[in-house]
């Protein structure tokens, strides 16, 4: 056999070298069922031959939809074995979105999890003329689907076993026909901007990237990962598929979406990936449960979390820490950190990643201080997940690390991040113009993200290029970066920063009704509603503290020093998607806000100390009401502001 440049070849190699190691587990019937690498290879061979027997040919596309199931992962490799291309889809997509992907990808076969997915496919079958075969994994409810083009996974495998007997050389011949430059997989972007595009990735893209990641982090065949993120997402393809093949570690499929937390605790993964909201959820759970805990537990929690906050991250980063603190931390590990991590299923974590959006520093440091090595990475589908990773020992909350092996990252004159790496995608499927827009002939990919390198060589991502403005003194002004910094405070729900073509930066701030409400109750501060609470002087002081702290942070970054917030006001109402101020995914609609509140914005810049507002509010039942309020404008402290050189 030639070099290990495709997944089928790696599979056969693993089946040889790691024959009796577990390759994949699934919790079913309440027990973890495992398959070794050699068993997996047998299963995949049968399925691949079955596909071939049904007429699936080299170059054909196989659509895949369902929760993370071993059989669906096997279907991916099976397609690759005979030269086909798997197209994993998001399992909770509606039928119409399925239709777009299947049509666009020219998928001829589909392997899906259950009746629900089959029904979706039947609904769109007329639109997707090429789709000729539907294969389901879970037979439940499938007894009266008589259509000849629907078959069960086992049925295909039986067919395959027979086919394999009749054509014993077929499988190996097909496997050896593919090489690294061939298409490995077609992944669809999430499509937040317009219709989703199919990203063509070759075996080289995927395997070299996976291998670089494995080498950098020292992953090996003893690691355990939990496959719980959607299969249609490139990250799952890397963590639950590509790297598992390359490193030979075991992937664990939870029983169902609702049992993930429990299953995670039973498995105790060593390698974990989650976007920030998942971590946030875990932290919230911990906080809620601590509130119900006994007095002594609460005291212990507070005390040892204090210790962890002080020295936990330093110990994790192997920095010098005094002997006494080390001792205290050890004690904390026995009484708090150990048991806590055990409950969360995080005891054995060696490596955890987060990516996708900015993560709050407090949240990030909470996990790190417990001794969980959580790191950020940066990349996109077009790069096969990552181009930058935080190196061990150099993990900072607000950077995304240094370029990965073989990856080059540059900043254009406009401040846009561009990169070139082995993972750079081949093309967008059937969209050559779009490919040219994104990727240059030399292989540089334009991300649309604005960012820059810090002195220590770490990349910092601040905003989308199209949103970054320029202040009058020439300083770049990334509104979302400032807003995120503000929103990391629990008291601040939303913020809108202004500064493009202005002399200084100002902001609207919306308080978090629940957090500030609780805070006010603890201080016996009476209030009658949102507008009233937001107008109270102590609340202004509370938010002023937050803003001053953001300003101090900003002053340490020479690039952003002048974007410190000068004046701000607390809005009289929450920004709301119903009022058009936010998108449905809770992103600020800047143009709309500029048009809706011109006098408020003016007041922030003309030096006035308060401004009267009259606003129409739409209630959920459709009624419209007017509220009137005087909004105070407050000046924050700014430090080390550089005067513009004229």
């Amino acid at each position: 056999m030639s070099a290990l440049d495709t997944f089928p070849k790696i599979l056969l190699d693993n089946a040889n070298k790691l024959a009796s190691n577990p390759a994949i587990r699934e919790k079913d019937y309440g027990i973890w069922q495992s398959w070794t690498w050699s068993e997996v290879a047998t299963e995949i061979r049968k399925f691949a031959c079955g596909l071939a027997a049904k007429g699936f040919k080299r170059g054909d596309k196989l659509a895949i939809a369902g929760d993370n199931r071993p059989k669906l992962y096997w279907a991916m490799t099976a397609a690759q074995c005979i030269g086909g291309v798997p197209v994993p889809m998001y399992q909770d997509a509606i039928a119409d979105e399925f239709a777009h992907v299947i049509e666009n990808a020219d998928a001829t076969f589909a392997v899906v999890e259950d009746q629900e997915q089959v029904d979706k496919l039947l609904e769109i079958k007329d639109r997707c003329q090429l789709l000729s075969e539907i294969i389901y994994e879970d037979p439940r409810g499938m007894t009266h689907y008589y259509q000849p083009f629907i078959s069960s996974y086992e049925g295909i495998q039986e067919l395959g076993a027979k086919f394999d007997q009749e054509n014993p050389d077929f499988f190996m011949e097909e496997v050896n026909k593919s090489s690294g430059g061939d298409t490995a997989i077609l992944l669809y972007t999430s499509g937040t901007t317009g219709r989703s595009k199919g990203v063509v990735l070759t075996f080289d893209n995927v395997i070299i990237t996976a291998r670089n990641g494995v080498e950098r982090e020292g992953l090996n065949s003893h690691d355990e990962a939990l496959a719980y993120l959607p299969m249609g997402w490139v990250g799952d393809n890397l963590f639950s598929y590509a790297q598992a093949y390359v490193a030979g570690y075991c992937v664990n499929c939870p029983e169902s979406g609702e049992t993930v937390i429990n299953d995670m605790r039973e498995i105790g993964p060593t390698y974990y990936f989650a976007p920030p909201p998942v971590y946030e959820n875990i932290l919230t759970q911990v906080k809620i449960r601590m509130e119900d805990a006994s007095w002594i537990s609460q005291k212990m929690f507070d005390y040892f979390m204090g210790v962890a906050k002080k020295v936990g991250t330093d110990i994790l980063d192997k920095k010098p820490v005094s002997f006494a603190d080390r001792l205290l931390y050890k004690l904390g590990d026995i009484f708090l950190y150990g048991p806590l991590k055990n409950v969360l299923g995080l005891s054995r974590i060696r490596l955890a990643y987060t990516a996708g959006e900015a993560i709050g520093p407090d949240l990030f440091l909470f996990f790190r201080s417990l001794g969980i090595n959580i790191k950020q990475l940066y990349g996109q589908t077009e790069a096969m997940v990552f181009v930058c990773i935080q190196p061990n020992g150099e993990v900072y909350p607000d950077t995304v690390g240094t370029p990965a092996k073989d990856a080059e990252v540059k900043i254009t004159e406009e401040g846009e991040v561009i990169y070139r790496s082995p993972g750079v995608f081949h093309s967008y499927y059937k969209e050559p113009e779009k490919t040219l827009e994104t990727k240059t002939d030399e292989g540089w990919v334009y991300t649309g993200d604005a960012g820059y390198f810090l002195e220590n060589g770490h990349l910092k991502i601040i905003d989308r290029v199209k949103d970054v403005g320029k202040m009058n003194d020439g300083t770049m002004f990334p509104p979302k970066y400032l807003e995120n910094k503000l929103k990391f405070f629990p008291y601040i729900k939303e913020a809108v920063a202004f500064g493009h073509q202005k002399d200084y930066v100002t902001a609207f701030v919306c308080i978090d009704m629940q957090a500030v409400g609780n805070w006010a109750e603890r201080r016996n501060l009476a209030y009658s509603g949102y507008t009233n609470l937001a107008a109270q002087p102590p609340v202004y002081e509370l938010i002023l503290d937050c803003i001053n702290q953001v300003n101090r942070d900003l002053s340490e970054d020479p690039q952003l020093c002048n974007t410190q917030i000068n004046r701000f006001l607390l809005l009289h109402k929450e920004l709301d998607a119903d009022d058009g101020e936010l998108t449905r995914t809770r992103k600020v609609r800047r143009n709309f806000i500029d048009e809706k509140y011109p006098n408020l914005i003016n007041a922030l810049y003309d030096g006035s100390e308060k401004i009267k507002v009259q606003a129409q509010v739409k209630f959920e039942d459709g009624r419209v009401d007017t509220i009137e309020a005087d909004l105070k404008i407050v000046e924050a402290q700014r430090v080390n502001i550089k005067e513009a050189e004229n």
């Binding site: 079913d28 019937y29 309440g30 027990i31 439940r140 409810g141 007894t143 009266h144 029983e255 169902s256 609702e258 049992t259 429990n262």
Partner: protein, 274 residues
């Protein structure tokens, strides 16, 4: 109960199993408690694989009828033929052994036990190994337990209660407790399943789920189901046939359509102006 007029009776569509021969024959049953006649000379039959509903106003004798069928009450008159065996009186354990399982109007689970243990009790009558081998979990007892656990896991999977497998029943919301009770009945692999108001007190979404499960059970396992339910929409949608009781007597039986249009039924539900 004014809904009865506005319901449209749709025949259950796309069922895989053909309705078979008569599996349960109820003949001239009369049940009295002292001077009170709970059931008065009622006869009907249920066919294999059928979903059969018993409806009627409060106090019509519906739950008593179920209790007669599974041997909790012993009727003074009449006889019951189940699966070819005719008897005047049945003991509850006989009926269980014959393959009749039921759920209760008021949930009757072991609140302190986990869902898994509760469902396991549904297989109690099938456990053959003696107490000792079960206690020390060895040899035959162990093999048997594993076999039963496997069957129970099938049911847990079927009713989608994996995530609460190890949760004590007392901590579950009402709708889920109802589902656990159904799971326990199903674990006994019954030929005939008696459901006493399985959807009472549920919200719309829970009701829809439960309907789906009732249909799926009938479909996948071929279980014959006798259902007592007050929600006429549910009854008319699910049932193959319906029997209507009032003051212990039978008014009529037939398909949902026939029953809906029967004047005596409408009178019983809406009252008659004299």
């Amino acid at each position: 109960m004014a809904e009865i007029e506005i319901q449209t009776a749709a025949a259950p569509a796309g069922r895989a199993r053909q309705i078979g021969d008569i599996i349960l024959e109820v003949e001239d049953i009369t049940l009295t408690f002292g001077g009170l006649t709970a059931i008065d000379n009622v006869s009907f039959n249920v066919r294999e694989h059928e979903i059969f509903s018993i409806i009627g106003p409060n106090g019509a004798g519906k739950s008593s009828m179920l209790n007669v069928i599974n041997g909790v009450y012993h009727p003074q008159k009449g006889q019951i033929t189940f699966n070819g065996k005719t008897r005047k009186q049945m003991k509850a354990h006989h009926s269980a052994a014959e393959g009749i399982a039921r759920t209760f109007q008021n949930i009757a689970l072991f609140k302190g036990m986990t869902v898994l243990d509760n469902v396991m009790t549904g297989r109690n009558k099938m456990m053959k190994s003696n107490f000792l081998t079960q206690a020390i979990y060895w040899g035959k007892g162990r093999r048997e337990e594993m076999e039963h656990r496997r069957k129970v896991e099938d049911v847990i999977d079927f009713l989608e209660i994996q995530s609460i497998r190890k949760t004590p029943v007392g901590r579950l919301p009402y709708g889920l407790q109802k589902r656990v009770e159904l799971a326990r009945a199903l674990a006994a692999e019954p030929k005939l399943l008696l459901l006493d108001e399985p959807m009472a007190g549920m919200n719309v979404e829970e009701k829809e789920d439960m309907c789906r499960f009732v249909l799926d059970i009938n479909d996948e396992y071929g279980t014959t189901i006798i259902l007592i339910e007050h929600d006429m929409g549910v009854v008319m949608d699910l049932s193959d046939r319906v029997v209507v009781l009032n003051y212990g007597g039978k008014i009529t039986d037939g398909t949902p359509d026939e029953v809906c249009n029967n004047q005596a039924v409408i009178d019983a539900y809406l009252g008659v102006t004299e």
